[in-house]
Amino acid sequence: MTKKLEKIIYNNYFWVAIFLLPNFLGFLIFILLPVLASFGLSFTKWDLLGEINFVGLANYQNLISDSTFWKVLWNTIYYTLGTVPLGIIISLMLAIILNKKIKGVKIFRAVYFLPVISSTVAVAMVWQWIYNPQFGLLNYILSLFNITGPSWLTSTTWAMPAVIITSIWKGLGFNMLLFLAGLQGIPNTYYEAAEIDGAGSWAKFSKITLPLLSPTMFFVIIMSIINSFQVFDQIYIMTGGGPARSTSVLVHYLYQNAFEYFRMGQASPIAYVLFFLVFIVTLVQLRNSKKWVVY
């Protein structure tokens, strides 16, 4: 083959088309177009059945003056604050323990991973039953310690914590595994050297483990926050957003607006608020990461 021909084959747009076009077409139709359409929809009033009307910024104005929206936004933040830090601390602790050379690591790892592979819908249903105040497992266990458990999912105070506990339980194994992989990437020689210098466990943890784990930590934090913003399944199943909207979150409100009240135009601004939140978190984390993530 001549050099010229070879160049043609390699840089030919024919090959670019073959490799990129299927993906790019799909991207245009099923990702980019809907993103833009969603933006367009946010300026309309439409129930998918009747006529579509342009209403300008009315949907955004409605949202700002809608007390339910602010409640739902706060619930989303409450849920995120409840799940992310606690979930990360517990899974990190477990990962550190499992990283020690002990017997049965594989079994424990598998056990902690079971909820991860179970579907959220199934998990939510099981926990709904566990939270049953009269005959549920949780309040029975609490009663053994002489504690009268609350009526979890039907209490405006306890419903959200109950959902949070379930979510942490479900996601624990996943984060733990990520941390475990991160820990295994830290060379043992670092710890040995530190021991020679007489470093205690805390010093080793804060001076070696945490900094070297920071890329994993960065990844886990971002993913956890983004996932928390988008929580839906367990809330739809366990509480339906109730009681008195105490567990309704952004995506749930979006779903209700779109597919229960059929206000497509009103659903879109909610979607954009969600996007904006995710965007901010990503941006802030990317900026901050330069300060604390060690590569």
Partner: protein, 423 residues
């Protein structure tokens, strides 16, 4: 040999042609409903078989969908152009669907073939939207007071009277409920009553108050008589100690029948449909009107059968709706205790004979029939669905679940609900 093969081919062709021609004639109707219990679906399927035998050219495919998802699913299917031809519509959603212009106008057909005047008053008002009819009432159901007779006997108490004119007033009722409440230490073994908060509007109406203004443009729950009624419901639990927490139903995971059967509760307010399951229980049950504040009242509603505007088989669909609205079909479901009839003619002494079933309906049930006949229309039917939804699942839950004062909640929700009423 050749001839045999030819004959065979001919025969096969003949069979094929004959089956395909009958297949071409047969219409498949999609019919969607929900089920309160698997028993209900069985009753419906029996009825549909009857219909298909009478109409061999129509095949009906029935799909039950859980109630909680039903209406949102149905709208989504309509938007997706894949909705069923015939479907249930909860009366609270009926006007909402009619306003979206997705239902076939049945006014002429009902007028000429069924006659709206034959329906009881609450069903008439329910069906008419600006003098048009888009769905035919299936039946009527009303909240009533169910009780376990054994628990009354044990406490040596007389049963609540079935005759609405003689029904106890609220104070007498609370008295009895107190006697039926049994405590051991701090734990209440048996509660006197449960369920008023699920049918709170009956108490409001009974006190001479209303939920909305007559034209449904404003909420009126903040008015003193309405507040008083809501407070009575709260007091059952807080002051009188005869009712479990508002979320008892969800918390225990028991339905009405199980509450009464296990003796957790002596009296339960529930829709009359619960009779179907209660009748199968192994203890004697009683049915009574709701206790009165000023008037003895109940409210009536029940789902309607409607036809999708996009249906390709509107004539066949009407046949099905007409069948579902027939007294004959209705009677089967009334007999098992699930429904109550929605025709005036079924409440005359002869009419009652057609459906009264001693195996299901308690002995003094006949005294109650006028109670159903004269039921007021449930306010949820006329109020916009979203307003009703927000009112019951958000605002009033603050009273039932979050212990907020009646006055505070009813006053603070006015703007929001009025806005939704006028949207």
């Amino acid at each position: 040999m050749h001839k045999k093969v030819l004959m065979l081919i001919f025969l096969i062709l003949l069979i094929f042609l004959s089956t395909s021609s009958t297949m071409a004639e047969q219409i498949t109707l999609k019919f969607m409903g929900w089920e309160a219990s698997p028993l209900e679906t069985n009753s419906i399927k029996t009825g549909l078989n009857e219909f298909m035998t009478a109409n061999p050219d129509i095949k009906v495919e029935y799909t039950p969908v859980p109630f909680d998802e039903f209406h949102s699913k149905l709208l989504t299917m309509m938007a997706g152009n894949s909705a069923p031809d015939v479907f249930f519509l909860a009366s609270a959603f009926y006007r909402d669907f009619a306003a979206r212009n997705v239902l076939v106008d049945l006014t002429d057909k009902v007028d000429s073939q069924i006659g709206i005047d034959n329906f009881i008053p609450s069903s008439q008002t329910k069906m008419l939207v600006n003098n048009k009819i888009y769905g035919v009432s299936s039946c009527t159901v009303s909240p009533v007071l169910f009780y376990n007779k054994n628990l009354f006997d044990k406490a040596n108490l007389s049963y609540p009277p079935a005759d609405p004119a003689k029904m106890w007033n609220w104070d007498k009722f609370v008295d009895v409920a107190k006697k039926l409440t049994i405590k051991s230490g701090k734990r209440t073994q048996q509660f006197g009553v449960f369920g008023f908060q699920n049918f709170w509007w009956t108490t409001v109406l009974s006190n001479g108050a209303s939920v909305f203004t007559d034209d449904y443009s404003k909420i009126t729950l903040q008015e003193p008589a309405a507040q008083e009624a809501l407070q009575k419901i709260v007091d059952l639990r807080k002051k009188d100690g005869v009712a479990p927490a508002g979320n008892f139903l969800e918390n225990s995971g028991m339905n009405t029948a199980q509450m009464l059967q296990t003796g957790k509760v002596a009296m339960v307010v529930d829709g009359s449909w619960a009779l179907q399951e209660l009748a199968k229980m192994d203890f004697p049950i009683g049915v009574a009107p709701l206790p009165k504040l000023k008037d003895t009242i109940t409210t009536g509603q029940a789902h309607l059968h409607a036809i999708w505007k996009g249906s390709k088989h509107k004539e066949a669909a009407w046949k099905l709706v007409k069948f579902l609205s027939s007294s004959k079909y209705q009677t089967n479901l009334v007999k098992v205790g699930l429904w109550m009839p929605n025709r005036k003619a079924m409440y005359t002494p002869e009419g009652i004979k057609k459906w009264y079933n001693p195996k299901v309906h308690p002995a003094n049930f006949k005294a109650l029939t006028d109670y159903f006949l004269n039921a007021k229309l449930e306010p949820s039917v006329i109020a916009p669905q979203e307003a009703w939804d927000v009112l019951t699942t958000e605002e009033l839950e603050k009273i039932w679940y979050a212990n907020q004062p009646v006055k505070e909640v009813t006053e603070s929700m006015q703007d929001r609900i009025n806005n939704l009423l006028n949207q």
